[in-house]
Symmetry: C3
Subunit: 136 residues, 3 copies
Amino acid sequence: MKTHTKYLKIHTENEKEIINITRAVEAAVSESGVKEGIVLVNSMHITSSVFINDEESGLKRDFMKWLETLAPKGDYDHHRTGETNADAHLKRTIMGREVVVAITEGKLDFGPWEQIFYGEFDGQRDKRVLIKVIGE
Amino acid sequence: MKTHTKYLKIHTENEKEIINITRAVEAAVSESGVKEGIVLVNSMHITSSVFINDEESGLKRDFMKWLETLAPKGDYDHHRTGETNADAHLKRTIMGREVVVAITEGKLDFGPWEQIFYGEFDGQRDKRVLIKVIGE
Amino acid sequence: MKTHTKYLKIHTENEKEIINITRAVEAAVSESGVKEGIVLVNSMHITSSVFINDEESGLKRDFMKWLETLAPKGDYDHHRTGETNADAHLKRTIMGREVVVAITEGKLDFGPWEQIFYGEFDGQRDKRVLIKVIGE
């Protein structure tokens, strides 16, 4: 059994941003030498997400507008700690923390449109994504 | 370490549908010979989901009605591409892309009511579900 | 390859409750002897969740209030079976069934604030969480 661990550094220019990280995950899988297995990709932070959807700029705007309706900025109990980002915790919950992707014949075993994204909801700071490959 | 990969073909009659795929996942686990490990089950498409809940027809209707309130059909930026299914991308996000299930003593290690479902939100086309078993 | 399976018993005092289970998952990883791999942690029930977020009491209240707005108690088709907990099935869907966490050098490979929680939405009954460790 082989394992491979990689940390991807991310620092967004904007507070909220969606970044395609598919190439970085593919690179980690290639480095691992794993031909059959899985790769876990997760945000290491609790106000950002890793998710799979379509690379389309309109859809990315739709996601951000939609998240604002479901988990709006506002007054939350969490803010009594001095934080002001409770909405980012909720937005991340909708989008998810992690994805697990199959590796088949050394490649991400993806459908025609699947791409991996990092979704930032409280950015402009150093963040990390964890990539863990296991298999053989 | 053993791995086993299987693709499940799905083509729904309706645009939106929830299909119980537990038996197909059990069959893949049995074929794999894996006694201890995990199985990843994911939609290979970005407008459908794999999720775990209860096999109850009323609850399935509740899920569909609820998703229509949280992620309604409507006018989205994504539709400038000619697509008309942005709501299906959002509905799938709520329900999730994938599940990871433990395999113990050769079987899905499930609680009393857990069943695996494929949730289609933009159907009437050929789709696939990926089943990846890893373990020993 | 090593695997380790553990069941965590949970019985909440309240109908809805969020419980930090990070220590129990760390203990299971330690017992497993796995140094590099992953751990799956999932609710074995369909009205409760396992998720990762921040240990902060205000945020936990925010989650519960927010879930009540997105998935309120009410009249659902599921209730024709005699059940009255359809809202708990929906709340659990928002929060998620499971998490998969990387194990690196024998420890949960977490960011600075990540903690694992059990979220109960239909409690006051015996429930179980499954912890499955795989790796080497």
